[in-house]
Every structure is written in C-alpha cells, then in structure tokens.
Assembly symmetry: C2
Homo-oligomer: 392 residues x 2
C-alpha cells in the first residue's frame, strides 16, 4: 500500500485529527491511536451505536490500533517517548502550547527523533492573536467568511451541515504530512506541519474571495443559483426538481437544442453569460416552461446524453442506494469481532494498482495495549506494572 512502513503516533481525538490519520491508515500507514484510559476519544460516545459501537467513530478510526495510556503520568510519557523514537509521524490536535507543556514541543521531538514529521491541527494556527482561543467547526465556518456567503439571499448566513472545517483541516494535514515525508525522502529532514480550522475554510472561498480581492465588493448570498453562471440551478420538471449545470456557452447551446429553444440563442438579452446572468429570471422562466413538460428521469437521461450536466437532489438513502455510489463502494461494511456489523464511508481516493482497503476494524479502547507495548520491548512484568499503576 501507498504508505506501507510509515508509523504514525496519533494523539488526536474528535474529528479533524482522526480524519487526517484515517487517510494515512487507509493507505497503509500503521496508525497508533493514543487514548486516555477509561475514557478514550469522545466520539466513541457520539452518534448512533446500535451494536454498542459508534458508527461515527468507526468511519474515522478503521484501520487504526488503540493504545490507552495516561499521558499525565511520567510512565505514560516515557512510553510515548519510546513510541516516538520508532515513529515517522506524530499528529496532535491540542491547543498550541499543550505539546510543549507535556514535554513534547518541537525541540523535544527533535531530540527523540530528528527526522520526525510532526503535525498540529489547530483552531486558528500556531501563532497570532487568536492562537490560544478554543475553536470548533461552527466558529471556523462563521469567522472565515464562509457563512456570510452561504444560504439564500435575504435569509441569514448559513453554515454547511457537516463539520466541514474539521474535515478540510484533516485533509490538509494528511496532505501536508505526505509532502513532508516526500521531502524527508530527499533531504533526510523532519518537518513541522500545521493546519487550522479557519484557514482551511478560508482556502475554499475560491471566486468568492478572489472577486472580493479584485473589486472590494462583498459577494452576495445566491442560494442555489450559481454566482458566476446562468442558467444554472434547480428547475421544475413535471414531477419535481432537477438540477441543471450548463457550465459554459457550448453546454448552454446543447441545453437549448435539447429543449427546442434554439431561437433563444439569438435573443439579445441572452447573447452571453453576462447578459443571461443579468436576465436570470427571464432565462430561467423560458427553460422552466420546457422542463415542466417532462419528468425528472427523462431530463436526466436526455440531457446527460447530450452532454448537459443534470441530476437531482438525492436524500442520504437515495444517495447510498444509487448504483453509481454502490459501484464506487462509498459505503463499506466491516465485521467487528466484538460488535458485529459496522458500516462506514468508503474511500474517496481510488488507486488502480494498490487500492485503499479496510484491513483492521476500528479498535476497542486500548485494544492494542499488549501488542504495541510488547513490540516496544516492554516485558510482561513491565506491562503489568503499568496496569497496576493505572497508566494503561
């Protein structure tokens, strides 16, 4: 697998960090998830758990091992030091400064393993006026400007439903770690990678940011209408709504041809995208008349055939039952030895020769204590002593 032989010490919990290390694990890295004994990652207790195991936790933590160890104790820190000496990567999503307080700041890490790649997932970055603030997805969605452009015109700012800043930040962290590992191959040097919830959100502002940079004008909330292209959006078929996205003049012409509206191409108010954008209501009305004559399934068939992107809003059940989603295996079933069936999200990155796979179920809390500690060279007596002291 892609990351075979890479060992990751994962000090993260909740969403952003576990999402980052999920990618590393899915690609074959050995991820050792460090958890607090008796408590563990709080996501173990979040979301629905029909068999006594959280499905939410399962997606983020498949393919990982769990070592439950108390990092407030000296013995726990000692085990972590030993682990880090064998590792390629360490990831944390503590607030800035916590790693230092624990005795694992950048300089200490360098002493333990000079070429270690260390990754910080933060709310606001390692430094700056808000670096010490706590954060959470909702705050990053609000403060990045994202919510201000999201939602319908005339309605309040709207967040995205998933914890998107956590997820983006986890993806960036995984990307940054891999980039640093590639640099290590070439230079032999370690590196420190940092991402933040807020910068991750800011980074996806795309044209909404660049148009503001160019003009100083604030972007509007345009709901389901595209802010650059028209026609585009939801249209009313005979039995419900279809989503149309003719992305350029060529595809617009194909749409008109299929609808029998070729004559609109000559109309001065629709000559180019800029004019159609200004006269959005009129062009949408012309299109809706035709779209309304036939059902959704008809339009999905004939428009895609003609090269016009067309689909419909699927609910979550329909999305996962959809033949394409199934073909792409975006829902996977894992058999957990203690908890039976657990369904998790599939792999968004497909490798033709050496694909991602689930090779290990999500771990029970501390389920790999003995294995990991034995590999580290601890004797049975030493492990029993840690247990007796409540360190593991």
């Amino acid at each position: 697998m892609q990351l075979q032989g890479i060992r990751v010490i994962d000090l993260t919990r909740i969403v952003s960090g576990p999402f980052c290390t999920m990618f590393l694990a899915d690609m074959g890295a050995e991820v050792i998830k460090i958890e607090t004994p008796g408590k563990g990652d709080p996501v173990r207790k979040q979301g629905e758990s029909p068999n006594g195991f959280s499905y939410y936790f399962a997606t983020f933590n498949r393919n990982k091992r769990s070592l439950a160890i108390d990092l407030r104790s000296e013995e726990g820190k000692d085990v972590l030091r030993k682990l880090l000496a064998t590792a390629d990567v360490v990831v944390n999503n503590f607030r800035p400064g916590v790693m230092e307080t624990m005795g694992f700041g950048r300089e200490a890490l360098r002493q333990i393993k000079p070429d270690l790649v260390s990754c910080n997932l933060t709310g606001f970055g390692l430094d700056g006026p808000y670096a010490e603030r706590p954060s959470f997805d909702f705050i990053a969605q609000a403060m990045s400007g994202f919510m201000s452009v999201n939602g319908d015109e005339g309605e309040p700012p709207m967040r995205a439903a998933p914890p998107i800043s956590d997820l983006l930040s986890g993806m960036y962290a995984a990307m940054g770690i891999m980039a640093a590992l590639l640099r290590r191959e070439r230079t032999g040097q370690g590196e420190e990678v940092t991402t933040s919830l807020t910068d991750s959100m800011t980074s996806v502002m795309s044209f909404l940011a660049s148009n503001y940079f160019a003009t100083g004008k604030l972007p509007a909330r345009t709901g389901n209408d595209n802010a650059l292209v028209s026609p585009y959006g939801m249209f009313e078929a005979a039995d419900g709504q279809v989503a149309l996205a003719p992305s350029n003049d060529g595809v617009y012409a194909k749409l008109l041809a299929v609808l029998g509206l070729d004559h609109l191409r000559e109309r001065p108010e629709f000559l180019n995208n800029k004019l159609r954008f200004q006269n959005r209501k009129q062009i949408n009305a012309e299109i809706n008349v035709k779209i309304g004559e036939k059902p959704i399934a008809h339009w999905i068939e004939v428009l895609n055939q003609a090269g016009v992107p067309c689909g419909r809003v699927l609910n979550v059940q329909e999305a996962f039952d959809d033949p394409q989603t199934q073909h792409q295996q975006m829902r996977l079933t894992i058999q957990h030895p203690d908890h039976g069936r657990l369904d998790v999200l599939g792999f968004p990155i497909k490798f033709t020769d050496d694909p991602c796979k689930v090779y290990r179920p999500p771990p029970n809390l501390g389920g790999d204590n003995i294995g990991v500690l034995t590999e580290l060279g601890l004797t049975n007596e030493a492990i029993d002593a840690l247990k007796a002291k409540g360190v593991i």
Copy 2:
C-alpha cells in the same frame, strides 16, 4: 521545498484539477500547465479581472508555467509524449476515455514512462453506470446527499456557495498523488489515482452518513443548529448575533459559569446533552436572556478566555481584515510583470522549516512555450515550425 524535483504535466482546466496542481506547485513541484493555444483555461475569462488578468485564475495557477499547445495535432501529441517522458506526474480532468482516445491511456503512459503517477479527476469515477456523464459541482452537491441535509428545516435543500466538490476532489487528488509518489520511492512503481466530484462530497457526510448507516433514518436539515450537540448555534447579543459552540459537557459547564447560569446544571431537563438536545428551545431561551445583556465583543472576549468557543459571522471583508487572518497571511499579493497587482488566497498548510511560497506569478497563456520546449531539446527552428503550423 517539499516537492522539489517533482515534475507535473497538468492537462486540467477550470477548478478541480488546477486546485490539485496548485498545491503541488505551492510545495515546490514544477507544474507545466498545458493549454489550448488562443483559448487557454476558461477560468482565465472568469471572475473579476481589474488589470486584465482574472484574480480567480490567479489563485489556482500561481507558481505554474504555461505551455500552449494543440493536443489534437500529431506534433502537439509528440511534444506531450516527450514531456511525459521527463515527468513524475500527469493530471487530467477530462471525461473517462478521453485520454485513451488521445493516445494517452494508462498503457500508453506506461510505455512512455513506466513509473509515472497518473491522476484522473472525474465527475463520477472511472467506471460505473454514470462514468460517461458530464458533471459539475452543483450536480455532485445534489447527488451526494449533501444538499439534502444542508439548509434550514422546512426549507428546500441548499448547496454550499463555493464549488466545494471541485475543491475537495482537487485536494484528494493532490493527496493521492503524494501517496503514490511515496509508494514510488519505496517500490519504483507508477500508479493511477482517481477521484470524483461525487465521491468527494460523499466522503464529507461524516455523522450524517454514519447515523443513517446505523439507524436507516434520514438525517434532518437543522440549519445553524448542530445535529448532535445542544446548546450550539447563533445567539442574540445586545448588538447582534454571536456563534457559540460548547462542544461537550465540560465546556457547557464553563459557559453556564460565565453566564451566571450554574443553577441550570441541576435542572432535570438539561442534565445531559441528549436531554438538552430534546429541550433545545428551552435551553437556548435561557442562554439568550443572558447573552442579550452584553454586546458581541464582550462575549467573544470573556467566553474564549473561559475556554468556550465563541465568534461571530464575519463577512468576506471582515474575514480578510481580521488580525488572525492577516497574521496567517491568507491573502497574498503577487506582482505580475504584465498585469501588476493580483491578490490570491494564501496557504492553508504551513510548514515551519520549509514553507510554501509564491515564487512565480500565474502565467500568461503560453508564456513558457519557449522555455519548456527549449528545455525539451527542441531547436529554434523546430519551435518556429510548430508556431508556423499553429501547434503552439
């Protein structure tokens, strides 16, 4: 830099592909953007262009070189073959099959460069019933189930404002390419990486998917209220709204302490998150009474100080003027030799030792023709001949 020495042939245009190769370029890879002579990437003509150069294009294409060459001509294909033989990575966002038709299918690429990493950015994946369909961000947002959970209860499904499926798919592509390059370091083998707009959206469905997997129940649209945690969301301060995100019982207790509402901890209907979730309106009402007594700035100060994530919705101007955003340099100014000032988005991934930087302005169309072709060993006469034939 992280990806120094990596050469990327970039056949992509619009958003998903250029976003992918932007990360590679920002980390030091040499990205040669292949464009159609006289036309170029359509994004060159999109978005605001106060100095005759699109700011939208500039963000996605800084640090890249541009080779304008007609790939429908045999001479153009010959140049591409020569380029690929010198490359580590090739990226395309054509529809599946187009690379084969052009003579650059997987097997042909292997012949040219056995250890090449080839990446496909697609609408629906390389295969499956919809593989041949055209797609676009809006369609992926609709078909992934994302829109069905986004937006307010009782209101229609809502897309996210930025082209988020394009952006996610570009991020995954960059991640997959780096993973394949790490595998190549170990095995000497090439690889084929594929991402899709739809799978990328599906992959961020997080608890919305896993709770559905666990229960078979469709998730509701909950607008700005979190679907798992309460209290959480927008509250009414004396001079406007503040966003509060107390993520767990400990932080909830801190919030109550700051608000002088400690007595609520004993109230049976608010004893745990599950109960507070059921009695969301009541707990929100209690909190709003207190929050309404003071202005936004007060709450941001005292709540963050106490460890309760708190912020407000910033518009795009406020977000980029914010001292933390500025500290993190999320808006960068590039001086383009022909077009003057171009402002672009900054780097979401920070490397402490060897940071991303802008070392090359976004290219003019074909601006690197002579340089790239000369490096390939073409003589001035050969280059002139290509020019005379309209190949470049």
